[in-house]
Point group: C4
Chain length 223, copies 4
């Protein structure tokens, strides 16, 4: 498709497709482990009670789905501006996706052991890894306009950098706080998805195509 266009570098459609596939699997991975309750004969059995017992798994599933949603939206947004790829960029993506596919594990760990500092640290390290690779991803693509359009708005570059950096920064804070209070640490982790669900200044740039195609603009202003 975009291969046939006269752009330089490798096309981006393949890495987008691989990422979407891995996100789809990671998002649904925890449902594979939610097994149907099996009736037991020894004691009075209630389906409603069995489903309530599965509650922590559903909660971990929902949190994992939302966090993966946050990173998927972030990844998608970056590709809005990226025009081509190269070997280094593909590998940053692959390491990012490796972190992404470990998120169901670390979220499940936190869901099952919310009072264990180890679980808080593992979850935080996973978020730092994923957010860190997403930051590197953006930095690599935008440094001297390597993989983006040459006329790209520098404000978008730095707005996106700040937005991505929030996640790892808050995770580092939550890990440090876990030494003092585990409940507070959990509360700080719970803030992260909320921070990303709120639209930021970056979103207005998507709706304004002129930011991206400043070269094509002049034709609108004649006469």
């Amino acid at each position: 498709m975009s291969d046939s266009s006269p752009n330089e570098g490798l096309s981006k459609t393949r890495i987008e497709a691989l990422a979407d596939g891995i996100f789809a699997i990671a998002m649904t991975l925890m449902v594979f482990d939610i097994k149907l309750p099996v009736p037991t004969q020894t004691m009075p059995w209630s389906l409603r009670y069995e489903l309530v017992r599965l509650w922590p798994r559903f909660l971990a599933y929902v949190i994992s789905f939302i966090m993966l949603g946050v990173y998927w939206v972030g990844h998608h947004n970056q590709y809005h501006y990226i025009r081509r790829t190269d070997r280094g960029f593909l590998w940053i993506n692959i390491f990012f996706l490796m972190g992404v596919s470990l998120l169901p594990f670390s979220t499940g760990l936190l869901g099952q052991y919310p009072a264990e500092r180890t679980a808080l640290v593992v979850y935080g390290l996973n978020l730092i890894m994923v957010g860190g690779f997403l930051y590197t991803h953006w930095w690599y693509a935008t440094r001297s306009h390597r993989l983006v359009e040459s006329q790209m708005n520098p404000e978008v570059v730095s707005l996106a950098k700040h937005r991505i950096a929030m996640g790892p920064a808050v995770s580092i804070l939550a890990i440090c706080v876990s030494l003092v209070g585990k409940r507070l640490s959990l509360a700080i982790f719970a803030l992260i998805p909320l921070l990303y669900l709120i639209p930021g200044r970056l979103d207005y740039h998507w709706l304004n195509p002129r930011e991206r195609h400043s070269k094509k603009e002049p034709s609108n202003s004649d006469s």
Copy 2:
């Protein structure tokens, strides 16, 4: 791909790819649990009998596949008209997909416990969740032509709204009926896929491109 076109907003191909991946996994998820029968030594063993015993699992698989098919077709149809996406829309999608990936669980629950009111209610709530997000999805995209073409036919908007609303409406009815009779409730749930398999007035609009591209039409009307 469509990124390079001068449209405003984020492209829709990524969210379509993520949705298709999650639907593909949800549709096949129940096959992972249909294990090959293992011969037992203690009693006379028959492969045919063992396969017949797996019958409820196959039935639940077929129902789950068809219900997911219904929602996939509905999702696909909406994107026929959608031209771009924004952050809010991506998140409505992500919550819709979360409901979609729980359908194999709730369908399996109903398949295994068809006489339990809890199973009927859980299945109904899942259908209401999925249908409700699909409705919100359409409402969000079409309200003041936010993400669709400005010349879009308003009849298509309302026909699609009615069609989507059928599922949650019938599910609410089935949940209420489950208080009176569980068999009747099951029968009402069985109606839902049939309602959606039948082509509606909406389908004629797909085949008539003029509805969508009224601007390009005039050239056909000369002479």
Copy 3:
């Protein structure tokens, strides 16, 4: 993407993406069940011997992968000619994909119980189901050029029909033969992938674009 083109009907990219996702899962589904051998302490243990014991699973995996490859190639070839979709066509696809995702189960069953007539019949019925829906798929799309180009070569339509019909026909034969001899029935099933691996007359039409675009041809013949 193709949505923005002035074609009538729904685009085909979504159903292709869903099909590719389900094929990818069905193809790899059996690897999920090939578990690493675990050392036992009670008797002399050899990794080589343990791997040899896994041999029937690997064989069933290879056969299942190849049969799914056959149907994927067949599905792909049809979409080479298909230009748009409608509700009926999407549902034929969904039932086809339901059969596809059961293939790993029926192949695994045949691999584990090659001497059981039940396994031969189940495998045969699965192939008839998948092949039958693929035939219906093609018939539905090409009947009075419903979803293909109006100038499509009728020879391609009938060549493809014959090629698709081979699979179900040979499966019916193999099921009938299983009443007489199970080994002969197995041998007939083994023929099916070979029949489809061999390129047929149909393939030459892909390489000759004139067959498809007869309208655009005249420009080549001037002067």
Copy 4:
């Protein structure tokens, strides 16, 4: 999409989508087997210790992810130059993907039994199979410009051939060395991903579009 262009042969988007789906599943397959640690009552239990015990599984996961990344990047690079497909090419792809989806198994085997020659040989044979099909893939596509552009730079063809051949060549060496020393054999296997992570001369050709579109070049040289 590219179906509608007047190119000869089948489009390449479907096989790319199938490959991306299978790679996404193979890459994440090993996470399905990393189960959350379950507390035991009999002895002092530590979550940190339980996670450390999972370490070999994480390592095998990381190695498998990176090796699959190597082959995915290699596959992607080839399609940069490939313009169309045919039946033979689709089947080479399908056999390549069969090898790809076995990589998590053979890597897991090596991770669990690094001191067993059988594990070293199985891993090496898997790498030879995958690399061998990738080489055949490229050879088939480029021989007398079967599936690539007629004006394609022959240097790119041979550079890519050499790069692909490294993997199987080093694997054969590692298998032979395993007869003498198992640790040395492991070290040689560890070299393979490093060899592919380093950008080669091939990469410069991606950044220089003239290599591929020499026909479109003259317009740049006037005046």
